[in-house]
Symmetry: C2
Subunit: 191 residues, 2 copies
């Protein structure tokens, strides 16, 4: 039996993306966003949805650049803070003590202490009611070097990247693996 809910934007899981820009004063700003995701594979692209009222919005329109920084579970309080405070009022980096580093490929800073940093150039803006969806082409990805294994590939288990759960309004650690992708479903091919 199904029950209809009012149309809403609940989906699980959501990424806890800390998006960084330079504001009009050249100050590094960070905002936590969970609306968005991967948009294409080649060229790689991600989408982020931002309300025009947010301080980051002006920076995104002006610089056409941002970074997506994925926090580890140990950064959960800073991540939540970046979502509830405004960069108009507070220097979020000064308050949290995190380090903004100028991007190598785009005019936006990344967060040194976060394990995974994606440098993006805005290539599309789609206006959608409450939010504008910015599509950013990924120009570079940085990862903590201690997460790179001896074969040169990243080990994600140790990154412990945060999940945003918009349904229960909480942050979660990665859950247990329940199946291998592109593999476990082959049993139905044989049937």
């Amino acid at each position: 039996m199904k029950k209809s809910l009012k149309a809403n934007s609940l989906l699980f899981p959501n990424p806890a993306m800390v998006v960084c820009t330079y504001d009009a004063n050249g100050r590094a700003n960070a905002i936590t966003l969970a609306w968005g995701g991967i948009a294409a594979s080649e060229p790689p692209a991600v989408s982020i949805a931002v309300r025009p009222s947010r301080h980051s919005y002006e920076a995104l329109r002006r610089t056409k650049a941002f970074t997506v920084n994925l926090p580890s579970v140990k950064h959960v309080t800073q991540t939540d803070f970046f979502g509830i405070a405004s960069g108009r009022d507070i220097d979020k980096f000064a308050v949290t003590g995190l380090t903004p580093v100028k991007g190598e490929f785009v005019d936006a800073p990344y967060i040194e202490e976060f394990p995974y940093n994606i440098e993006c150039q805005v290539v599309h803006e789609v206006e959608l009611g409450t939010h504008t969806l910015f599509v950013g082409e990924v120009l570079n990805v940085k990862i903590d070097s201690d997460l790179v294994e001896s074969n040169g590939k990243p080990s994600w288990e140790n990154a412990r990247l945060l999940t945003f759960d918009s349904m229960s309004r909480s942050y979660r650690a990665p859950g247990e693996v329940v199946g291998s992708a592109y593999s476990i479903g082959k049993k139905w091919l044989a049937s």
Copy 2:
């Protein structure tokens, strides 16, 4: 210390979205997609990225309608199968025994056995290299009635919705809660 990786489309977490459409023969089709996410709050909207080579692509262009069905961990093999098989060759519903039900608000079927179903109307299409990003306005949401609590609100803990982990190419169960959103970060406001 940071190491630069080749630009890529890795992000964690990704939703395991089973997207359903009707093909040109009126047959229900399902494809598993992990590229996409929430796009706006009001009107609620989601994005899904689809390669033009996929069987679902023609249906999305023609019907301008789709459903996003979120699987529980118990549907992990069917979810993986929907991603690796093509609806051109196989009736995926017949093979898995899952039930397509005609949407109430859009010309697309939803999966009865999956706990959470989102009915969407395509409102934007953005061409991005390998993928077209379809933005769908959410017209209705259905949920298994046994997941609705006595206060009328959904209980998500029991839904055990699947996460796709594109980094390790696996599916995960929801992880433990490590913090309350819009709350745990307030400590930095006071500092």
